[in-house]
Structures are given as C-alpha cells and as structure tokens.
Amino acid sequence: MIKISASLLRQIYDHTEASYPNECCGLMIGTTDNEKNHIVHTFRTCKNLNQERARDRYDMDPLDMLRVEREFEKSPWDIIGIYHSHPDHPSRPSQTDTDRAWPDYSYVIISVQKGTATSAQSWVLNEGERKFHEEPLLTEGDSR
C-alpha cells in the first residue's frame, strides 16, 4: 500500500498536466513502515531526458536522482517511489515500464487524458516474475 495526501497527489497531477502532451516523471520521498507500506511525505519533479519520444517515453535524469539522494541523506526520509504520466493512455504499466522497473519502489502512474489527470494507480514489481502487481493507493480521507 502507498499513502499520499490529496494535496500532494494534486501537486503531482499539476506536474503531469503542465507536461502534457509529454510524459513527465518525479520521485516520491517518504517512509516505509514495518509492513512495507510506503507513506509519501513530499516529492520532487525530475527532468525527462528523452526528447525524441517524450510523448511515450521517459528517462529520468540521473543527476536529478542524485540531487534528491543528497538532499534527503541526513533525513529519516528516503526515495520510496517514482511517478510518471501516461498521456492519453491508462494508468497501467507498459512493457517498457516493466522491463525497466526495480523492486521495492512504488510506481505511481497517472493517466492524463486531453491534458487533465484522470486517474492514478500504484504498482510494485514482483522481481521473480518480472511483473507488476497493483497496490492500493490511499489518499487522505480515503476510507478504503
């Protein structure tokens, strides 16, 4: 499970909408509890280095990831996941997402339809199967 406040998720939506029709990406920073649930405390936008196919691909700038690592190295927070947008596509992982995924991170995918973020789902890689499985994404006030 991943927990995120509605306001943070709204800010991530804002990033995905501002980047439309291109894909965008960022890092979610927070904590992991004993049951491996992720709690998002903040996020950082990252640069998509893929200019040629920005509409259907993203390559996160490794320097952005390094900067985020450095920024939070003295804090109890850590990089717990990655978000990226799927412009005019569902919030489900593609084969490319699966091929390039890492275990233990939450991958939040936001579907942006005609410039408006319409759904978000979170996925975790089962490394043995090399397949994504959906995990519950709880926003503040969500009673599920």
Binding site: Y58, P62, L66, E69, P87, Q95, F132
Partner: protein, 104 residues
C-alpha cells in the same frame, strides 16, 4: 588506499542487510565494488555486467561525477569521496501489461 562511503539504493539494500551506506577502502571504483561483493554476496551480480563494466541500467557517481564520463571502473577515488549507486529510471506508455491485486 582511500576511505570512501558507498551509498546503496533501496532495491539493493536486501543484499547489504538493509544498510543504506557502507564505509570501505579502495583506490578505484572497480576495486571498491569488488570489495563490496566480497562483503555482500551477490552485489556484483546486480551491479556489474561481467566484472569490467557497470550494468547499463545502473548509474555510478563519484561525488557529482558519473563514472561513464570518467574512466568507468578505473575511476580513482580519494579519501572522503562518496560513491552513489543509482538505478536508472525509465519507462513509457506503450503496451499495457499488468496484474490486479490478489492475482499471482
């Protein structure tokens, strides 16, 4: 020999027993990564292709410098340097493949 700190990303921490950083000695990045493998079984398999190159989807930085812009594993380190191992993060929209919760 230099004393450096190696930063471990979350996906590799099961190999290091949960440690997020490790202090280790060495003269080059390659030597340090091989020592990491001696200390943490399976480390090199996750980070190196054949013992001579860093895997394509891994980035290794010495302080702020990507070793691909330096001398790869022959990049020298000095006392107090930080080596950061970072997964390369990428993806895209084409071709949905997924499982719903509860499926195995």
């Amino acid at each position: 020999m230099s004393n450096v700190t190696v930063k471990i990303p979350t996906p590799l921490r099961p190999i290091t027993g949960g440690q997020s950083e490790v202090k280790i000695e060495g003269a080059t990045v390659g030597e340090i990564l091989r020592k990491m493998d001696a200390q943490f079984k399976g480390f090199a398999e996750r980070v190196l292709d054949d013992g001579r190159n860093v895997k394509r989807f891994i980035n290794v930085f010495v302080n702020e410098d990507n070793i691909r812009d330096k001398k790869e594993l022959e990049t020298e380190v000095k006392n107090g340097d930080t080596i950061s191992i970072l997964p390369s993060i990428a993806g895209g929209t084409v071709g949905a493949v997924y499982d719903r919760p509860g499926r195995s």
